[in-house]
Amino acid sequence: MIRSVPRSRWFDRLYLLYLVAFFLYLALPLLVTAVFAFNDAPFPSLPWKGFTLDWYLADGSAGRTGLFHDDGLLSALWVSVQVAFWVTLVSVSLGCLNAVLFERLEFRGKELLYLVMLLPLVIPGVILGVSILVFYSGMANTVSMRWQLELDLFRPGLPLVVMGQVAFITTLSTLVIAARLRKFDRQLEEAALNLGATPVVAWFTVTLPWLRPAIAGAAAMAFLMSFENFNTTVMLTGSDTPLTVALFNRLREGSTPVLNAVALLLMVGSAALAVLATGRSSKTA
């Protein structure tokens, strides 16, 4: 089973075959999606009619509207970017504070609170969305009924989407940052104090640089998770739909290669972000 233990030849071949099959299974859907973004046909299916960039560039004059001229998709993309920005900002800030809280301070009930902190990981995303919808929209309804005050902030819409995503992404960013902080040698902070730094200066000159790769990693992860989230988002979205919800609505109307074009763009974009984050963190780790 391990390299030092001999295996029979047919077992090795079977294993290799399995590996190949597995990676084929992994790659096939994405390859197909990417390839059909360039097929010169109105539907993303065989036969191959030749290469075209229409699904990105066409301006609608010839009956085709490419992604870069599709206002609906472009504005959804922009909405997603805004949501992801706020979610990243809030959840990474909270993640830093939580990491310090759980790794550095001692207080009564810490174990219990840590478990509570993990809870969002075991709550299905749909339920998170639903509960936030019930709580805040319900509150807005009650307030509106009793006092004729309109709390539009709490109606389905982008603020609610951000809140719903922050609810669970914060747990993930906390775990990433806390894991790094746990590996921090506290003697380094004492050394800084010993060399004349005040506690605040020590935090900014020694501890924070140490956490930076984890913070960058958590930010990249938060951005991707937010950008790709559907389950929580779909429950909370209002008139401005983020990209995944917009794509879903398009998909239900029927698929066109424009969807492939968006999908490819998403894959390339998120892969680039992921590579950037992992590359940076592995360099400084």
Binding site: E190, A191, L193, N194, L195, P209
Partner: protein, 364 residues
């Protein structure tokens, strides 16, 4: 407390929940001294060092550095620097940035900073290493960077927390000598804590032996070795043999013990007021035991022991002996004449009573 002492502690006490880690410790370290605190792990030496550095506060007692009371001074404002056990070099900075860290905090201008960094790197034998990462250095080099990072600030007092513990044996031997030379050339007062008695002996001007939060003895290394004040010091500093028995005769400062098997041995009384009938321990160094019975008329203490086995270790070869259920080690002479002692063979040992030390035996 002398005016010229760099560090003076008076009746320091630090208690934790279940124990007193530092118990009424007083010490006085004159300027330019290499002062070691030697003790087994858990004896409170690290706590004491942290009190000096300011990472912890004493429950009572005072700390003075050059006559200034330090109790309420924050760690970053004390004229004290520390080389940490695991060195604590900042992994996110280069060697130069590590050394510059303290200078920046003191707002030393960049030009002077560069000059002093180059200077101190030269002094510790790492010229031109300023742009390296600490991770790229060898264990001994990292050690020197940690020292340079402190010494560049010209502290009154340098604290060292077992910094050699992580090095392998050969390098440790080399660094011992080097640390001693560095201390002499910088002239800084060092307070060094260790559990390794050889480190303390080789480097120090003064050694304090610490046990259960208290100092057992504070003395120069040689005095510690030749005239241990307590049974703990006798057993902890250097190799020693202990023979337990009952006091049968006291004449002047010489005491005679009778061992369980009936043999009689004698040594110098250290504990006051030893009286016949009392249990006592006699400590005798392996190198003080003579294997050839000396014929001359000196009054020697004699003992017959059975050989268990010989332990060859070059210049430090010993023979393991057994007498009345107690184990003894004796140094074998360097000439190789005794290498083949047969097991079970009886052998006659002798020593000058003035070299053996007798303590009242509270410990069974």
């Amino acid at each position: 407390m002398g005016k010229d002492s760099d560090l003076c502690c008076d009746q320091l006490i630090r208690r934790f929940d279940h124990m007193t880690a530092v118990d009424q410790v007083s010490l006085d370290v004159p300027a330019g001294t290499f002062f070691s605190i030697l003790g087994p792990s858990g004896c409170g030496k690290t706590t004491l060092l942290r009190l000096l550095a300011g990472f912890d506060r004493p429950d009572s007692g005072d700390i003075f550095i050059r006559g200034q009371r330090m109790n309420d001074v924050a760690p970053n404002r004390r004229p004290v620097n520390m080389v940490f056990q695991h060195l604590a070099l900042f992994p996110t900075m280069t060697v130069g940035e590590n050394i510059a860290y303290g200078l920046r905090r003191q707002k030393v201008p960049a030009a002077e900073r560069r000059k002093r960094i180059a200077e101190v790197l030269e002094q510790v034998g790492l010229p031109g290493m300023s742009d390296r990462n600490p991770q790229q250095l060898s264990g001994g080099q990292r050690q020197r960077v940690a020292l340079a990072r402190c010494l560049v600030l010209r502290p009154t007092l340098l604290l060292l927390d077992e910094p050699l513990g992580a090095l392998d044996l050969k390098l440790r031997e080399q660094m011992k000598v080097e640390l001693k030379h560095l201390q002499k050339s910088f002239g800084t007062t060092f307070v060094y804590i260790t559990h390794d008695q050889s480190e303390a002996m080789v480097m120090s001007d003064q050694v304090a032996v610490m046990r259960n939060g208290r100092f057992d003895q504070v003395a120069p290394p040689e005095e510690l070795y030749r005239h241990p004040a307590t049974p703990f010091v006798a057993g902890f500093v250097g190799d020693n043999n202990r023979l337990s028995g009952e006091v049968t005769r006291v004449s002047g400062d010489t005491v005679e013990l009778t061992l369980a098997g009936g043999a009689q041995v004698s040594g110098l009384a250290v504990s006051p007021g030893l009286t016949p009938g009392q249990q006592a321990d006699l400590f005798i160094r392996p190198e003080a035991l003579q294997l050839q019975p000396t014929v001359t008329g000196e009054r020697l203490s004699r003992l017959t022991a059975g050989v268990v086995t010989t332990l060859f270790d070059g210049a430090n070869s010993r023979v393991e002996l057994e007498v009345a259920g107690q184990t003894l080690f004796a140094r074998l002479p360097q000439d190789g004449s005794w290498t083949s002692l047969a097991g079970g063979h009886p052998i006659q040992l002798s020593w000058a009573p003035a070299l053996a030390r007798v303590f009242a035996g509270a410990t069974p």
